[in-house]
Amino acid sequence: MTAAPAGRAPRPVLSSRPDQAPRAILRLAWLHAVSRRLPAALALLAACAAGLRGTLYGHWDAYGALQLPLIIEAACAAVIAVTAGSPFGEPERATGRWLPFLRLGAAVALTALAAGLLAAAGAGMPLAGGFPDLLRNVAGLTGIGLLGAVLLGGPLAWTGPLAYALAGVYALYTDWHPPTLSTPWLWPGRPPHDVGGALCAALVFGAGLAAITIRGARDSAGGDPPA
């Protein structure tokens, strides 16, 4: 093995020169985003929003009108959660001191984008629960997904939001078929302006953000990197 010539050394991502710092930070953020497939995730979030818009044109019964948005919100949360997986693992953690901030920024930005895109898709349409319901569900489901990424690894992080969404679908079903599931921890079944449900969702989202920021997604067992 030979050392690389000094003149062709790779350019440091974060430059020590102050005038180049913003550009370097942007480059670092971009590299982080690309490694987590964030551009593809953005496209999928936009597709989910388009899907929501399309379904809202349909004629659904009361079940469908309430449950369909939740399923699409869960899809968005699952997409955000699986972006948390790192393809580099230990080497990245050992060298990247900016990594926690990048993870936090990516999760917050994607969640905000998902909520914004879905809200835009539902504008002017009969979206059950409206924006408060949508924001609460997206945040809470994303929190579950991020916690799942920390515990199970990014590639399997989808299990949490989707399984929870199924329980949420059932909670909405019990609105017609008592006994109603009224625990605030099953917030999709609560009214949009319910404080208890919103607090629980916010708590889970906060916990997910904190966990993903501090710990990052767990490396997959058996060297099974996310594609």
Binding site: R37, A40, A41, L44, W60, D61, G64, Q67, L68, I71, I72, A74, A75, A78, V79, A81, V82, T83, G85, G154, P155, L156, W158, T159, P161, L162, A163, L166, A167, V169, Y170, W176, H177, P178, D224, P225, P226, A227
Partner: protein, 504 residues
Amino acid sequence: MTAATAPAGTDGRPRASAVPLPAAGRLLRLELRHSVMLGLLPLVVALFWYNGYREVMALPPMWNLRAMTLQNRLLLDLVIPATGAAAWMGSREGRRDMTDLLGVTARPRWSRQLATWAATTAWAEIGCLACIAVVYVMTARQASWGGPLWWPAVVSVAGVPPLTAIGFAAGARFPGRFVTPLITVATFFGFAFSTQAASGDHSYWQISPLTSGAFDIGAAPGVASFYRYLPDLSIAQVMFAIGLTAAVLGGLGLSAANGPRLRWLTALVTAVGLGAAGTAVTLAGTGRLDPHGMIVIPALHDAASGQPVRYTPRCSRTAIAVCVHPAYAGVLPAITAAVGPEVTEVAGLPGAPARLSQVPVAYQQGPGNSISISVASRSQSAFAVPDPIPGQPGMTSAEFAAQLAQTLGLRLMSDVILSGGDRAAELNPSQAQLAVIGGSVRFPPSVEERDLAPLFGHLLPVPGSPAARAARRFAVLTPAARHDWLAHHLAALRAGQITLAELP
């Protein structure tokens, strides 16, 4: 280079498999040990317990109610873990960039994929069967009559392979990190909401394995109680599930086959699968609702299966025996409690029935998904148990009692007071007759005046009228006292010779 040695046992001798398996069996065993579906089984159990089991077990212990509800709930709970696990396993080779490496092995890629899919499906089926077993064992211990309905269980089991095939094929074709959640959501969406488009008994959407009967009836106590459970729709659903699985897996093989023979084989499997699935959908579209509440598909129907079930009714020990189908034994106390006073009051009077027997209701398809339900018999001693019954969603004991009072109680009293052969009295009852009926039928507080409005002047006194005040006086008497009074004055009452002032 040294030759690889066989793994040694603790005694130093080469360890051999307890049961020698062919290569495909060994591959399947390996895949069974490494399938992610095994790890997701606790999630299956948790989801089923939360979403399905509690609701199914809260239903009255009737085989038809629980088995048909189970068919709907269980598959819905399996969609996410089974499809997700299959997609994850299907994308394994691509995710690990091992497609080229494994491409040079002796086995065709399709057979490797089939082994992985089979292992995932096997674990999902084990989860499915375990859930069915728990519900069926519990129901067997609680049910008052009948035995397991196997067709709903068969449809549930047959519904799993298509889920895993769809997930697996998507994962194998697009092995990215997003494919697993997206195909899972898409499958759940398509599966759960496929029935929303259904309309009437001729709908092709009945082919969904979640559909356990006619829309707007579903799992009803009157379905498959008096008549056998018709397997017509279930057969079509199983046929569809098998066909869809074959088509998806065959399609997967078409893209993975690397030889003309294998390509032909996969093409054949795909074509047969598509043919079977298409035929099943077509058959479902020929269905019609039979009077017993089940879907008949003429091409699959066996006329012998539509025969009534033999049973020995369960009867109450009241003055007039109230007899129900043994599957309804659990609600017999509620029925006798609801109409007990009326039964005591009219027992032994001329024109009173010696026994009240439950008869099946007749179902008839209306426009769209509407279904009309009527009592099959007009006999004075026949009655239908209201549907739903206590324990089913949306029906409390108080509402059940109210419905019984409005139907059985009111009819029992009006038959005794107004009939007696005087047709004119039936059409134009006297105020005293209305007062006696109104004072005898005990409506629970939940029955509101607007519910009874159509009966005012025909079977019940108009509120606020002198007859209504006389009815309240009459209602104060005990059932035995009312019986004694009727025993002495029924003939005169029927003849219109009793005035309101003469009522006690």
